[in-house]
């Protein structure tokens, strides 16, 4: 038997981490190709609202998940169009994407605020009183396992497939990649849309299981945490997952601090992950001679000079 409070903490950690991790993994893929997308918050929001609306209207969970993923992906393609095809500034475009995403989702979801879901994303197996860590692990929401699978697949694809190598080459040195005949625009466009799809899945999880309801601005900064996670993880899937667990743990810990009898202010606990991320970044930069894992061309629009 393990402590019932500990089980609660572990559950909450895994759920919070899953939500953050999926969005972060998507951003990681986008950034690997050299495209910085600061619109994660907006993309999660779009996925969350479209998924929720579909679930209310059709009661079909699978369809809702697909709609959420697809609409976020299409939404991300605005960023791809503006930065990849039209070569405009990525920082600016990403920020506008966040504003637009939050506004559009608030507008779409106006009539859905406070509605109750008939069906939601289910847990794989329902163990009412998990008594050990293994039982906690096997009784998670299906999205948790999808996230684990996505992590393994992403890591494999990045390291061992042509697509992954191409992605990395484009992000590291677009000029050489171009002379090698790699299609830069196409690779970056796909990577941006895949990032959007992942953010959409994270959003769907938010409204169909994690919360589950819809209100304006319910992403409440999670998109920005996802961006920090990519940095924390040094643009590596497994380390990003570790970061997600840390951030998720702290998010789960905050409301429980008082029951454990700690005097520490929850607001101070909430900012520690950001401080840790900055420290990790500084340490990596100093001790690895600037190798933080960041793709070299991140944020730089590629333009082939014609003569």
């Amino acid at each position: 038997m393990i402590d019932i409070q500990l089980v609660g903490l572990l559950n909450a950690t895994l759920q919070a981490a899953t939500l953050l991790f999926i969005a972060a993994l998507g951003e990681l893929i986008t950034e690997k190709s050299g495209i910085l997308n600061l619109g994660v918050e907006g993309m999660i929001s779009i996925g969350a609202v479209t998924g929720f609306m579909t679930a209310i209207n059709t009661q079909n969970i699978l369809l809702s998940v697909l709609v959420g993923i697809l609409s976020s992906s299409v939404f991300a393609s605005i960023h791809a169009l503006v930065t990849v095809v039209l070569k405009q500034d990525q920082t600016v475009s990403g920020l506008i994407l966040t504003i637009l995403g939050l506004a559009v989702s608030a507008l779409l979801g106006k009539n859905y605020v406070g509605k109750k879901l008939e069906t939601k994303l289910e847990n794989i197996s329902s163990i009412n009183e998990p008594s050990n860590i293994l039982e906690v692990l096997i009784s998670q929401n299906i999205i948790f396992y999808i996230a684990v699978v996505l992590m393994i697949i992403t890591s494999y694809v990045l390291k061992n497939t042509m697509f992954g190598r191409r992605l990395e080459a484009v992000g590291e040195d677009s000029r050489s990649s171009d002379s090698m005949g790699l299609k830069i625009a196409k690779t970056q466009f796909i990577a941006t849309c895949v990032g959007g799809a992942f953010a959409g899945l994270s959003g769907v999880y938010l409204t169909l299981s994690y919360v589950p309801y819809w209100t304006d601005n319910m992403t409440s900064g999670r998109g920005w945490i996802a961006l920090a996670l990519v940095i924390f993880g040094g643009w590596k899937p497994y380390r990003t997952a570790l970061g997600a667990l840390l951030f998720g743990f702290l998010e789960a810990l905050v409301p429980r601090l008082q029951t454990y009898g700690f005097e520490l202010s929850p607001y101070i606990v909430k900012i520690t992950p950001y401080i840790i991320t900055i420290l990790v970044l500084i340490i990596l930069t100093v001790y690895k001679g600037g190798i933080t894992g960041a793709p070299k061309n991140i944020g730089v629009p590629f333009f082939r000079e014609n003569r």
């Binding site: 910085l36 600061l38 605005i78 503006v82 039209l86 070569k87 405009q88 500034d89 920082t91 600016v92 475009s93 920020l95 506008i96 994407l97 966040t98 504003i99 637009l100 939050l102 506004a103 559009v104 608030a106 507008l107 106006k110 900064g221 920005w224 961006l227 920090a228 940095i231 202010s265 607001y267 101070i268 909430k270 900012i271 950001y274 401080i275 991320t277 900055i278 970044l281 500084i282 930069t285 100093v286 600037g290 933080t292 960041a294 944020g299 333009f303 082939r304 000079e305 014609n306």
Partner: protein
């Protein structure tokens, strides 16, 4: 075989940024109209109401310009930092730390002359903003840590500190439902010049001219441009690029901190999460869309101030306030897309 290829234009029209913004705005109005039509609202009525309630009277015009002050000041700061080709995503945090610094100095000081008191508090805000960007600036200059990331992260840290302060040490026991610090005394409120327009707007005009001079006319501005250009040129010109970058970041952060100070002394009168409603992020867009030109930032900042006032008042006729956000975002995306056509040329070339 014929192929379409992209060419960078040799010369770009001086007013290209202005035209793209204008066209972007028209596109946005068009998109906004469609959304309104879908919602069975008359676009013409809605927009004329927005116009009337944002610039139609002394009171509404002054509210709009008040709203523009933090956008303009933070935007100017971002444009100064951009002179050395660095980004500042941390204006939001700098605005908050500026306000925190004002409250800190207010609590811990005794100044009897209100004019001097206000002056001291404004300087405190500027310094607060500069302190906020200190760690990103040091780590950038000393180790080369990416400033986009560190400035972004400091936002959360500072907002976390703000929430801690207004729920803990600075919590006003009289404010029950909404956590906030105690109000500052009326003697340090910024005076109004006409209608509701805060004295902060004059400060804003002054700093716009200052930033324009600093960036385009001063020796320091010239050195910043060199420092942000090529490292070798800076060495040949005997310019300490790191020092210029460091100074530019502190000054830019200070501008945003000043915005926080003015917001506290003229609008909220106390530290709360309402000090900034995303002004720091909107300011980045305002700065970037004007090509980092101080005078452009002043104009676009004012327009966005009016738009956000107009957006919040149309709620009364049952139109979602998010329409204003959508118009804002579409204007910007429209402007970005049009700018492409000013900067590039698509030509048909024959493959050999």
């Amino acid at each position: 075989m014929n192929n379409l290829k992209l060419f960078k234009r040799q010369s770009v029209n001086e007013l290209a940024t202005f035209y793209s913004f204008l066209i972007g705005f028209l596109i946005a109005i068009f998109i906004g109209s469609i959304i309104l039509l879908i919602q069975d609202k008359n676009p013409f009525d809605t927009f004329s109401l927005m116009l009337r309630l944002s610039v139609g009277s002394v009171n509404s015009l002054s509210s709009s310009l008040n709203k523009a002050i933090p956008l303009i000041l933070a935007g100017l700061g971002i444009s100064i930092i951009n002179s050395v080709k660095l980004w500042n995503i941390g204006a939001e945090g700098q605005i908050f730390l500026g306000a925190i610094a004002v409250n800190f100095v207010y609590i811990n000081s005794q100044i009897n002359n209100p004019t001097i008191h206000i002056f001291v508090l404004l300087i405190a805000g500027f310094i607060g903003g500069a302190i906020c960007i200190l760690i990103p600036a040091i780590t950038k200059v000393a180790f080369g840590v990416n400033e986009i990331i560190t400035t972004l992260l400091t936002n959360y840290i500072v907002i976390g500190i703000t929430i801690y302060l207004i729920n803990g040490p600075w919590k006003d026991p009289n404010s029950l439902n909404f956590p906030a610090a105690a109000y500052v005394g009326e003697e340090v409120f910024l005076p109004t010049i006409f209608g509701k327009l805060s004295f902060g707007f004059l400060i804003c005009i002054f700093f716009t001219i200052l930033a324009h001079y600093l960036k385009n006319k001063s020796v320091f501005g010239f050195e910043m441009r060199i420092a942000g250009g090529s490292a070798m040129t800076a060495v040949y010109a005997g310019i300490n690029a790191k020092q210029k970058a460091f100074l530019a970041m502190l000054i830019g952060g200070g501008f945003a901190g000043l915005a926080g100070a003015i917001e506290l002394l003229s609008q909220t009168h106390r530290v709360s999460t309402g000090i900034s409603q995303g002004f720091g992020y909107t300011a980045i867009i305002v700065a970037a869309i004007t090509g980092m030109r101080p005078l452009g930032i002043f104009l676009v900042g004012s327009l966005f101030g009016a738009l956000s006032i107009g957006g919040s008042v149309i709620q009364t006729i049952g139109v979602s306030t998010y329409i204003a956000d959508i118009i804002q975002a579409s204007t910007l995306f429209g402007a970005l897309i049009i700018q492409f056509f000013f900067n590039y040329q698509i030509r048909r070339v024959e493959n050999d």
